[in-house]
Amino acid sequence: MKYVTEYRNSRQARAIASELEHAAQPGRQYRFMEFCGGHTHVLARWGLTDLLPGNVRMIHGPGCPVCVLPIGRIDMAMEAALQHKAILCTYADTLRVPASGGKSLFMAKAEGADIRMVYSPMDALAVARDNPQREVVFFAIGFETTTPPTAVCLLQAKKEGIKNFSVICSHVLTPAAMEHILVTAPRREAAPVLDGLVGPAHVSVVIGSEPYRVFADKWKMPVVICGFEPLDMLMTILMLVRQVNEGRHEVENEFTRAVTPEGNLIAKKLMERVFRVRDSFEWRGLGSVPHSALRLSPEFEEFDAERRFGLVERQVPDSKACQCGAILRGEKEPFECKAFGRACTPAHPIGACMVSSEGACAAFYSYGRLRRGSEKSPAA
């Protein structure tokens, strides 16, 4: 696999790990937040945590679009399917997230709701075309990576004049969330001290590396944009350690093969046409974050499922036991949650972080619980 296998070289991995061991200065702590759930998954799936020096600690950020979706928004999707009898098209990722009363879209489907898994927004549009007598709702989630495809899909729906199609627009914005974490950290007692940020790979493909400059400049935070292969990850950590050691705080780009300073201009222009920034948006764990999500622009609001069905987002608190919020803010580790591995497992998740394979709890449960089992994990 070109552009994949080359970045999974076993020899290089071990060697770079040695280099990293050498670079990390004893007596110093390196605390880096990987914003992105994709990176959380890479660390766990390849067992990279094993290879890191003891004083380099990775802190999981809120960059999993499934994990940050608050219960209220899943309830809206459920309402479209159950009360309004719409065909709900969704990425499989959201199917198992528990919403109000612990009920997931998957369970709603078993109860008879017409919920269909799609791989692309265009598949949802095809469902609408094939079922002209039914309302078809696409549950549009995701960060800037997933947003341009939704935009293209809506453009096409408008062009074809498809009347029975609408979207629950739940697209969120990466820089706003990153900034929110840094802004609110001083107010949060448990907030971790961060020594650097790992910048997302595919989000940055779209938005480019420029938007991160503010973190380096204003917050004096080393940033490295990182690809999703294991060598990308190791290299990025090495680059962050070097910035720390050298007292630099720059935006570096490890993923230059796909990320440019300005990103994808076509995609950005399209997003500007189809969407508008919401004044604020509710994130799981982060609460209400200003200017952190998108709604449809006036030109496309005919496709807004929230308007069409009068869907109103209700604020539903997470399960009391669940520490997802603190975990998404980087304040806690999964095994610090009492439910972890007991009441909450991937088979019976209580919180979103246990659902998505990018969720910190799921990643730790599936790949890592045995390693720290002796200390904390009750399931070991």
């Binding site: 076993s10 991995a13 799936r45 067992g47 094993d50 198992r96 991937p346 045995l370």
Partner: protein, 350 residues
């Protein structure tokens, strides 16, 4: 019986353009006609139910073994097989994994009203072919037709009967520290062949299901490694889930080496694309043999020389540490858990 009944079948079944309707499952003439013109033709053997309620079998020599599986796959036809070949091979394999020689198959069909008789015929022929390859006889069966909207074309349940090979004793409880974990070839071919064909993903590939009867391979293993401890086919849930079951049943740990696990390039690529892990993807023509260290090499050699075993590889070791857990040294040199499958893997975007 075919002879005697023919005179009632004034109009033969239209195998080319006909469709199944509810009368074909009602137990009357239409059922008899379907049996004689579609099933009996493909399965013919001297034991096959001659209109009696059951089949009389020759004497069974070793310990008798029985295993059953319902097959509900979609699509019914896929690269490398169909529901028919799968239903026979799957049950042949489950019997074989008991260290046994599969002998007989009973097959039940639940057909959805409207199903094309041509497709049924093709599937039934494919069952006959697979049975002949495996050297088993389809000795009895049953056909029911359900109303449109109460099925998915065709479900096939097969039950296999066999006899344990002389001197062999395998069980999921018998893995011992030091044993070697051998698999008979690449992981994930079947599941990805299905996934790549499934509607809604608009995704095409040349990936072939590995679906195949493994009884001949099992006989070779039992010859080369008479003290084989465990035989198991990593079907639903894939290698990861099956090894977890064994680790749990035998109260042992299992340590895999990622680099040694064969995965075909196109399967690996399709998995990347859909966000799936080949270790959790179903196989239908692969087995896991857990054998004492001293028989591992000869077993591997025998497997590589046997049908459907060419790509066999030693992929791990049974350990006394971490009983109940499967772990893996990744390609990157890190060690991580390989957990149970929690739910069907679904294509993901994040």
């Amino acid at each position: 019986m075919a002879e005697e009944k023919r005179r009632y079948f004034a109009t033969p079944i239209d195998v080319k353009k006909g469709i199944i309707d509810l009368t074909h499952g009602a137990g009357g003439r239409a059922t008899a006609q379907l049996i004689s013109q579609v099933f009996a033709r493909a399965f013919s053997n001297e034991i096959l139910e001659e209109g009696h309620d059951g089949a009389f079998l020759p004497e069974i020599h070793g310990t008798p073994v029985v295993s059953c599986d319902a097959h509900v796959i979609r699509p019914l036809f896929f690269p490398g097989g169909d529901i028919g070949s799968l239903a026979v091979a799957g049950t042949v394999n489950d019997v074989a994994m008991c260290g046994a020689k599969p002998l007989y198959i009973a097959a039940c069909f639940v057909i959805e009203e409207g199903f094309p008789i041509a497709d049924l015929d093709r599937i039934v022929q494919s069952m006959g072919r697979t049975a002949r390859e495996a050297g088993v006889k389809i000795v009895t069966g049953d056909t029911k037709v359900v109303e449109k909207g109460h099925g998915d074309g065709l479900y096939i349940t097969t039950t296999g009967i066999g006899e344990v090979l002389p001197g062999i004793r395998v069980s999921g409880r018998l893995a011992r520290p030091g044993d070697r974990v051998i698999i008979s070839g690449s992981m994930g071919d079947h599941g990805m062949a299905i996934m790549s064909e499934r509607e809604g993903l608009s995704f095409g590939s040349g990936i072939q299901s590995d679906s195949a009867p493994l009884n001949a391979l099992v006989e070779e293993i039992c010859r080369a490694a008479p003290h084989v401890h465990v035989l198991r086919d990593p079907t639903r849930g894939g290698l990861a889930t099956t090894l977890n079951e064994i680790a749990s049943q035998s109260s042992v740990g299992i340590m895999l080496d990622e680099a040694s696990i064969p995965v075909h390039e196109d399967v690996a690529q399709a998995c990347e694309f859909l966000g799936l892990d080949p270790l959790y993807v179903a196989n239908e023509g692969k087995l896991i043999a857990i054998v004492p260290e001293e028989e591992a090499e000869s077993c591997l050699k025998a497997m590589r020389a046997a049908p459907h075993g060419e790509e066999s590889a030693i992929v791990g070791t049974v350990t006394a540490e971490d009983p109940g857990y499967v772990q893996m040294t990744t390609l990157m040199g890190g060690v991580r858990m390989v957990d149970w499958l929690n739910a069907d893997q679904l294509p993901r975007i994040c």
